[in-house]
């Protein structure tokens, strides 16, 4: 046999842990790393959740908590946004789901470079710690808003201008390094380490989504890295990359000749693909959930794959639609509006295919399925308001209002979070061998889902009547909108607090079910993909026994006529 005929993974030697610390802390096992990513992301996400509660209390009941000063409020806005987008959503979807699903679904023993994978998590942890250090440095974290626009991000008057902005930028730089290490592993594993019979077009859509998201990440995070480095130099060394000549508190500053717009371009060249770094894995996972729990093959598998690819490519040419209010040549506005609206085509293909998968299916309304269905609804709502904001002429008046808050929370906040919940309920049995408590799961789902609509639907209305976003308190401009806006804000705050508290029930469920949950068996959902076909549950170190599984069919053989069961696992041979 020549070398090309022996797959590298067959000769791969899995590093066996010898002590507690290499088994659970510096582990090179992708499943442990996945849990580490997940736990860290959830922990930091709870911090961001509490911050959002504080913000909502200030907005709904101004002055109720006297310790929420404008500084505290803006720091909460900034940290909430950055944590949720980068350190929870990206880290959870790619770090936790990516690490867990990719080797198991592809029939590999581990990621191709487990040591690098281990480093990836620990560098991510470092970035989280540096970010959290913001709260303990003089002046607290930065309050520049999650977009960190210069010049204001590094000028006096913005909270955390001395230390907070520095820890924030350092944390982002470290995160990019961590992501790159993980991302290189994901791509190489998917491209080069699949098992026998696992062709690209037999891969589960989850893996496709993760792969496209990782490609986007590896090409988009460089822009964040560069903008963070340059902003850090502006702040610490006194360069003028982004700083024009500024008069600050009556004093002309040393800076001159920089371009604040350059930062916006770099930031959004990262920032828009970032939306899809979060959305594409969610698309993949939700395709999986819908197919498994409706006992039907996914409709239009090939189209689903190509739609993922098309969305990935298009996401790199739409970034300036975040900058319409910054002012641009009308032709550019036209270009970016067009590309933005074109993305609706592949996205709509995906939504239609999910709905057509459900059509006449044998739907099992399990908790993961409920979350998947909720995702479709929420994503459609968020996507439709995106059509409004993609147009320059509608975006400009709406851009600084709650309409935008409602839009992006629906489409890239709540929708992927619902998928994360669904994914956790779906894979938790494989990870731990126990089912999550079903009653708590239903309570969690209904409160979260309905609560989401109670929070964000009214925000669309608030935006239309012109309530500006990011304001600590409304002043003179509030004469332009009715008093009902304040009442509505109270209502939203109460809904947000209820939803927020419900997430602690979810965390309780995660912990309690680990010890007292019902035994799950190896394949509780009757799913076809390889991760449910492992010899042991939870899968042992190295995932498979002596030989790797061989794949004989695609991932979606559900309700095949003539078969005894309504599903045929991927490693079952075809009948002659």
């Amino acid at each position: 046999m020549t070398q090309a005929e022996v797959p590298y993974q067959e000769t791969m030697v899995v590093h066996h842990p010898r002590s507690w610390i290499t088994r659970y802390w510096f582990s090179q096992d992708h499943k442990v790393i996945s849990v580490q990513y997940g736990v860290t992301a959830i922990a930091i996400g709870l911090v961001a959740l509490v911050l959002s509660g504080l913000m909502r209390i200030q907005i709904g009941f101004p002055g109720l908590l006297p310790f929420i000063t404008p500084d505290i409020y803006y720091q909460a806005v900034t940290m909430h946004g950055m944590i949720m987008v980068i350190f929870l959503l990206t880290a959870f979807l790619l770090g936790a789901f990516g690490n867990f699903c990719i080797p198991l679904m592809l029939g590999a023993r581990d990621m191709v470079f487990p040591f690098v994978n281990m480093l990836s998590y620990h560098i991510y942890l470092l970035s989280v710690l540096v970010l959290m250090a913001s709260y303990f440095v003089p002046g607290g974290p930065t309050g520049a808003g999650w977009t960190l626009y210069p010049p204001q991000a590094i000028l006096p008057g913005t909270p955390g201008v001395d230390w907070g902005i520095v820890t924030m930028l350092l944390s982002l730089i470290i995160f990019v390094v961590a992501f790159t290490m993980g991302g290189l592993n994901y791509i190489t594993t998917i491209l080069q380490a699949r098992t026998r019979g696992m062709t690209l077009m037999r891969m589960p859509l989850t893996v496709w989504g993760l792969m496209m998201a990782t490609v986007l990440g590896l090409l988009a995070f460089p822009a964040l890295f560069v903008s963070a480095v340059m902003l850090l130099l502006d702040k610490l060394v006194g360069t003028s990359f982004f700083m024009p000549a500024v008069v600050s508190f009556g004093q002309p500053l040393e800076h001159s000749g920089g371009s604040p717009l350059l930062f916006q371009h770099l930031f959004w060249f990262f920032g828009h693909p970032e939306v899809y770094i979060v959305a594409l894995p969610a698309f993949g996972v939700v395709s999986e959930l819908i197919s498994v729990h409706s006992r039907k093959n996914i409709f239009g598998y090939r189209m689903m794959v190509w739609a993922l690819v098309a969305i990935g490519v298009l996401s790199f040419v739409v970034w300036a639609h975040h900058m319409y209010v910054a002012g641009m040549h009308p032709y550019f506005g036209f270009f970016f509006a067009t590309t933005t609206l074109v993305i609706a085509v592949p996205t709509a293909i995906k939504v239609y295919n999910w709905v057509l998968t459900l059509w006449k299916a044998n739907i099992r309304l399990t908790v993961p399925m409920l979350f998947a269905l909720a995702f479709i609804l929420t994503f459609v709502v968020g996507g439709l308001s995106g059509l409004f904001l993609g147009n320059v002429i509608i975006d400009v008046p709406l851009s600084d209002t709650y309409f935008v808050v409602a839009h992006f929370h629906m489409v890239m906040g709540v929708a992927p979070i619902l998928v994360i919940f669904g994914g956790i309920y779906h894979w938790y049995p494989k990870l731990t061998g126990r089912l999550l408590n079903n009653t708590l799961g239903h309570v969690h789902f209904w409160v979260t889902f309905l609560g989401t609509y109670a929070i964000y639907y009214p925000m669309h209305y608030l935006g239309f009547i012109g309530v500006p976003r990011r304001y600590y308190a409304n002043g003179m401009e509030s004469v332009f909108y009715p008093e009902s806006a304040a009442t509505l804000n109270e209502f939203i705050t109460i809904a947000a607090l209820v939803v927020g508290l419900m997430q602690f029930v979810f965390v309780y469920n995660l912990i309690a079910s680990y010890f007292r949950g019902k035994a799950a068996g190896s394949n509780p959902w009757d799913a076809t993909t390889l991760e449910w076909q492992t010899l042991k549950t939870p899968p042992s170190h190295g995932n498979w026994g002596d030989t790797l599984p061989t794949v004989h069919r695609w991932a979606y053989d559900y309700s095949v006529p003539g078969e005894e069961q309504d599903f045929v696992p991927q490693n079952v041979e075809r009948k002659p």
């Binding site: 070398q3 090309a4 797959p7 590298y8 191709v112 470079f113 790159t180 991302g183 290189l184 592993n185 791509i187 190489t188 491209l191 080069q192 380490a193 699949r194 098992t195 026998r196 019979g197 696992m198 062709t199 690209l200 077009m201 037999r202 590896l218 090409l219 988009a220 995070f221 460089p222 822009a223 890295f225 560069v226 903008s227 480095v229 340059m230 130099l233 060394v237 006194g238 360069t239 003028s240 990359f241 024009p244 000549a245 040393e254 001159s256 000749g257 920089g258 371009s259 350059l262 371009h265 770099l266 060249f269 794949v551």
Partner: protein
């Protein structure tokens, strides 16, 4: 099927059939099981993806450079004056940079020879060529240090200001060449590590593709320098 040159081959096809086969074989190869890139070691695939990502970092830096060069309100310094070197009683423009570029490009040559020696399993020659490459790389970094100290100490160039014109000139110069210099320095350490490991016999089981993987990185750093050279020193 008739054996041609000892290999079983399909009979000849018409052009349209052949075109179809070409396309389907192409997609079948990519989409087949186990590996999309047949016979490519994991490390090599990973290095290529990493370099693609790193390309975007340097592209963003260079685009940032072009952007501030447009936005600054002061005239951009003339690089052939700033980077001139007094030698033999005359001011020679870009003398040091020319030597640096020559050294770095030569190091790519020795690296390519090292890869060749590696695949021929001539360990000794491969190790020596890698060490020569590392030495050339270190020379490059050393000359860069000389260039930096000359600009900083003798001419008073700072990241926030410089005597020649636009303050962004110094800022971009130190950022971009510094980031590239870090890449070269990391590459030198990488090369030394690999040379040491080859000598210790760590790769004796393999066919020394590690030399090629290291070479990919080294050539990339070299290629980036060509762009920095063209956009920064010649423009």
């Amino acid at each position: 099927m008739t054996p041609v040159l000892g290999v079983e081959r399909e009979p000849m096809k018409t052009i349209s059939e052949a075109r179809e086969t070409l396309l389907t074989t192409f997609s079948d190869d990519w989409g087949s099981d186990i590996a999309a890139l047949k016979g490519v070691p994991w490390g090599k695939a990973m290095m290529w993806v990493f370099l693609l990502s790193d390309t975007f970092i340097f592209t963003c830096f260079l685009v940032g450079y072009m952007s501030v060069r447009m936005s600054t309100v002061e005239p951009w310094p003339n690089p052939s004056e700033v980077f001139a070197l007094h030698a033999f009683g005359a001011s020679v423009p870009l003398l040091l940079i020319a030597i640096m570029t020559f050294v770095l490009i030569s190091s790519s040559g020795t690296m390519a020879m090292a890869v060749n020696m590696g695949y021929q399993r001539r360990k000794e020659a491969a190790t020596n060529l890698i060490l020569v490459t590392a030495l050339l790389g270190a020379t490059f970094v050393g000359m860069q240090a000389f260039e930096w100290s000359k600009l900083i100490l003798d001419e008073g160039v700072r990241p926030w200001t410089n005597p020649f014109g636009a303050p962004q000139f110094g800022a971009v110069f130190f950022m971009v060449t510094g980031f590239h210099g870090l890449h070269v320095s990391a590459g030198v350490i990488y090369l030394l590590t690999i040379a040491f490991r080859i000598r210790r016999g760590k790769y004796d089981e393999s066919n020394f593709e590690i030399v090629e993987i290291t070479g990919l990185y080294w050539h990339f750093v070299d290629l980036v320098w060509v762009f920095i050279f063209a956009l920064f020193y010649l423009w």
